[in-house]
């Protein structure tokens, strides 16, 4: 509990670009904690925020596709991962009502850009 209450004042909020995970403060792990640059019981994980952004954008793409019944069923996330962004847009356009497709098009394109560039 003490560790969680310390979180608000810890490095977690000072360095939002990184992700963090807890590390046991046991003396037995002292060497490891030094090697892993553990600070205040936490280890920084580079790129976690970027990974989460990408994952969220993938989920968003999946939602837009599902809404238009253009998803790939259970494999949707994996298929989006392997597809060209343009291929996903083409599939969405093919399956959706032309008048409604423009409504979510910008959202889909933004999410695909985040996924492929971010």
């Amino acid at each position: 509990m003490r560790r969680f209450s310390n979180v608000t004042t810890s490095i977690v909020f000072n360095e939002s670009k990184k992700g963090y995970t807890k590390f046991p403060s046991d003396v037995l792990f002292k060497d490891y904690s030094r090697k892993l640059s553990v600070k205040e019981g936490w280890i920084a994980i580079d790129g976690l925020e970027n990974a989460l952004t990408k994952l969220c954008s993938l989920v968003l793409v999946e939602r837009v596709l599902s809404r238009a019944k253009a998803d790939y069923g259970k494999d949707t996330l994996l298929r989006i991962l392997a597809a060209e962004p343009g291929e996903v847009v083409a599939r969405y356009v093919q399956h959706s009502d032309p008048e409604k497709s423009s409504k979510y098009m910008k959202q889909l394109i933004r999410a695909l850009e985040l996924w492929s560039d971010g």
């Binding site: 060209e84 343009g86 291929e87 847009v89």
Partner: protein, 156 residues
Amino acid sequence: MGDKKMRKPVLLKVGWEKVEWPTQQIAEAIENLFGYLGDYKPEQLGYSKTAIMGPVGKLLSMIEASQFGESVESYVGHIINIHNQSSKKLITQAGIERLRKGVEILVDLKRRFTDRDFHRIVRSVDYGVYFRKAKEIAERHERKQEEAKKEGEQSE
């Protein structure tokens, strides 16, 4: 059994030659063909691939099938002809130059890569150009909607 000699093993060189994927050239081809499509105004607007890609879709399949071999001029001439028959706007000199540059890159890639790899390259260019155009149309659509909304608010 004992007289039988062991066959000499036949050694084959197995493995893939490490060929660097032409990411930069693919991006340049996309950029040039996207630029050329600035001149293409289809009869019917929409997000469909046929409407958006115009003559570029035809160009990609022609280069993949080596319809005019390595003759850049022939591809460019053929596409200009299709363009001027199907677009509401005639092709400009700048459009021709962008088209030529895109064709040059693709013909060069076709020469350097296997058919299988070139198919992947064409697919990347095809969907890359389509994505850029779809994005452009979506942004334009959004801008128009915002302007209409502002005008509506002002008139109230």
